[in-house]
Symmetry: C2
Subunit: 337 residues, 2 copies
C-alpha cells in the first residue's frame, strides 16, 4: 500500500483519511487529542481495532503535549483526553479496552514524572499497535486454513489494514487465503450507509486480488447463483454466549449463508470477546445520524426532512455462525451443518 | 400529489421527471415521439405499467402530429414511433403489450383517415391508462384486506403512482391499507443501486403516511427488532410455477421474512403472470451497466476501473411467498406458515 494507514511520526500521528477513499489517497496529521477524537468521530479512521490504536496514541499525544507541565495539570489533560476519546464511538469494545490500558499506565504512580509518564504512555500505545499487527498475522493463518482451495468468498464492510492498523481481521484472513491459492474471487458488498465496501475494494484492487463489488441488495441473488464457499466477517463485540455485534447487514448475510449452506466465519481478536456481556441483547446498538443515509459523500440523495432509521450494527446469534477465528485459534460456532 | 405523475394536456403529455425526485419536482412536456422514447430510455418515467402507458401516448402523439398528412406518410410516422418506442427498454413486458394494442388500432383499416385514426389511437392510449387505474384500485382493495390493523409493513423499490400511473401495485395496497387504519408505519429500503426507495419515500411523505427510510443492509435488523406484519412487494414477471422476478433485493427480503414469520405478499397485475415461462430458472436476469453501482446520481463513488456485478432482478421462489394479489383477487403462495 503506497500510503500507510497510520504512522507515528516522532511527535504526532499521520493517518490516511478513509472518508476520501477510494477516490483520493490523502493523509491528515493529528497533533492534539481533540483532533484524534474528531478523526474517530468523523470516521476518518474507523474499524474497531484501529480506533483503539488511534485512541491510545491520542492519549499519548495528550501526555506528550503536557509533559512540561506540573503533574496535576498533566494528569488533568491526560484524563480529559481519556474521557473525550471514550465518548467518540459507544459500541466499539476495543476503544474502551485500549483506553483502559492507557489509564492503567497513567495510574501507575511509581513514575510520578510527566515526561516519564508520557514516554510510558507512548510506549503503551506502540505496544497496542504492535500487538495488533502480530494478532492479525496469527489470525490470518488460523482463518485461511478454513477456506477450501479455489473458493469464491464473501465479506462485508472493511476489515483490512484500513480497519486494524495490522493486515486486518476478516480481510487479513482473505488476503492470506489468497496467497495460499484458496481464494479465487472476493465478493464485496457496498455496505451502506457509509459504503465501507469501497475501502475493501480499494485494498483488494491495490493488492491485485480478484473481486467484484456488489450492491447490498444482491447478496441473496449472489448466493443463489454462484458457488460461494464462505463469508468471512469481522466483529465489533462478541458476547459471552457467542452473539456477534457487527456492521449493519451482517445478520442478514448470516441468515442467507445458513440458507445456502455457506460457511459463516467471524474473524476477531480476543479483545473483541466481552465476557462481561452475557448475550447480544445486552449490547447497546449505536444509532447514527440520519444524514449518513440521506447523503452519499457530501451530496444529499434524500431531503433533510425525510425520516430515516440508521442503526450502525446488528446482532448475529451464535446459531448462525460456523466458526470464530482469533489470534489464538479457531472455535466452533452454533451452526449445525 | 401536487404534481401529477403524467397528465394528457389536449395535444401533448406532461410527465413528472422521476430522475429529479425527491429533491426536485420538475415536469417535462413531451410533444414529439422521440421525446417519449428518450424519457423512457433515460428513466424520467419508469415502472413497467407506466412505461407502457407513456409509450402508448407516444404512439398517439406521433399520429396526432401527422394527422394532416396523406395516409401513407401518416402510417410511416406512426410505425416509426412504434419501432423506436419498442427499442427503449427491451425487457419491459408491459411496453410490448401496450404497443401491440396500439399497433392493432393502427392496423384497423376501416377508418383509413389519419385524423380518425389519430383519435382512435389517442382513445386507446387513454383506455390503457384508465384500465391501469381501475386495476390498481381493485388490487389495492384486495391486498389491503390481508394487512392486520395497526401494522408496520415493509416494501422494496417503488411500486406506487410513480410506477403505474394509477395508484400503484404494492404501494397502492399500502396506501389503501393505511386509509383503512391497517398500516402504522412503512419501512422503505433504499433499494440500491438506483435508490428507487427514495421515490417511495417521496410518495409516502407527500401522502402523509408514517414511514422510515432505511439502508438495504438494515432489513434483517429491522425484522429482528421491530414487530413487522408483512412485506408487500411488486413483481416484474411471475413464472407459471409462482416464482417471482422482481427488483434485486426482493429474494433476500423474502428469506428474512420467512425466518421472522413475516407475511410476504406479492402484488402484481394479471399481465405480470407469464404462463409461457415455466419457472424462475427460465427468466433471464438483466445485468445492467456497472456505473449504476459506481455512481450515485451523477457522482462516482467508486473509480471507473473497479469491477462491479449489477444484476437488475432476482428470483424469489414460490415457497417464500405467502400471497399473490392481483386485480382479480388473492391466491396463496407456497409459504407453509
Amino acid at each position: 500500500m503506497g500510503v500507510p494507514v497510520i504512522s507515528w511520526k516522532n511527535d504526532y500521528l499521520m493517518v490516511l483519511d478513509q472518508t476520501k477513499l477510494p477516490l483520493r489517497e490523502q493523509s491528515v496529521d493529528l497533533t492534539k487529542p481533540e483532533e484524534y477524537a474528531r478523526a474517530i468521530r468523523d470516521m476518518k479512521v474507523r474499524g474497531a481495532p484501529l480506533i483503539g490504536i488511534v485512541a491510545a496514541y491520542g492519549v499519548a499525544q495528550a501526555a506528550l503535549n503536557s509533559q512540561n507541565e506540573q503533574f496535576a495539570e498533566f494528569e488533568k489533560h491526560v484524563r480529559r483526553a481519556l474521557e473525550s476519546l471514550a465518548a467518540t464511538r459507544p459500541t466499539a469494545v476495543n476503544l474502551f479496552w485500549a483506553l483502559k490500558r492507557m489509564q492503567a499506565v497513567l495510574d501507575d504512580n511509581i513514575l510520578r514524572s510527566p515526561a516519564k509518564h508520557a514516554l510510558a504512555l507512548l510506549n503503551e500505545a506502540k505496544s497496542i499497535h504492535r500487538e495488533q499487527v502480530e494478532a492479525d498475522r496469527a489470525m490470518a493463518m488460523n482463518g485461511a486454513a478454513l477456506i477450501p482451495r479455489n473458493s469464491n468468498v464473501l465479506t462485508i464492510c472493511n476489515t483490512g489494514a484500513l480497519a486494524t492498523g495490522g493486515e486486518g481481521t476478516a480481510l487479513g484472513v482473505i488476503f492470506e487465503a489468497h496467497r495460499q491459492k484458496r481464494v479465487k474471487r472476493v465478493f464485496v458488498p457496498e455496505t451502506r450507509p457509509r459504503m465501507q465496501g469501497r475501502l475493501t475494494a480499494w485494498e483488494l484492487h491495490k493488492g491485485r486480488v480478484p473481486y467484484k463489488f456488489i450492491p447490498d441488495t444482491s447478496v441473496g441473488a449472489l448466493l443463489s447463483r454462484e458457488e460461494v464457499a464462505a463469508a468471512i466477517v469481522g466483529a465489533d463485540r462478541i458476547a459471552a454466549n457467542g452473539d456477534v455485534a457487527n456492521k449493519i447487514g451482517t445478520y442478514q448475510m448470516a441468515v442467507l449463508c445458513a440458507r445456502h449452506g455457506v460457511k459463516f466465519i467471524v474473524a476477531a481478536p480476543r479483545s473483541t470477546f466481552d465476557a462481561g456481556c452475557p448475550t447480544g441483547n445486552d449490547i447497546t446498538i449505536e444509532e447514527r445520524d440520519g444524514d449518513e443515509v440521506r447523503k452519499v459523500g457530501r451530496c444529499f440523495v434524500l431531503p433533510k426532512e425525510y425520516l430515516v432509521w440508521n442503526p450502525a450494527f446488528d446482532i448475529t446469534p451464535r446459531e448462525l455462525i460456523s466458526h470464530y477465528v482469533s489470534e489464538d485459534g479457531v472455535e466452533s460456532g452454533g451452526r449445525e451443518d
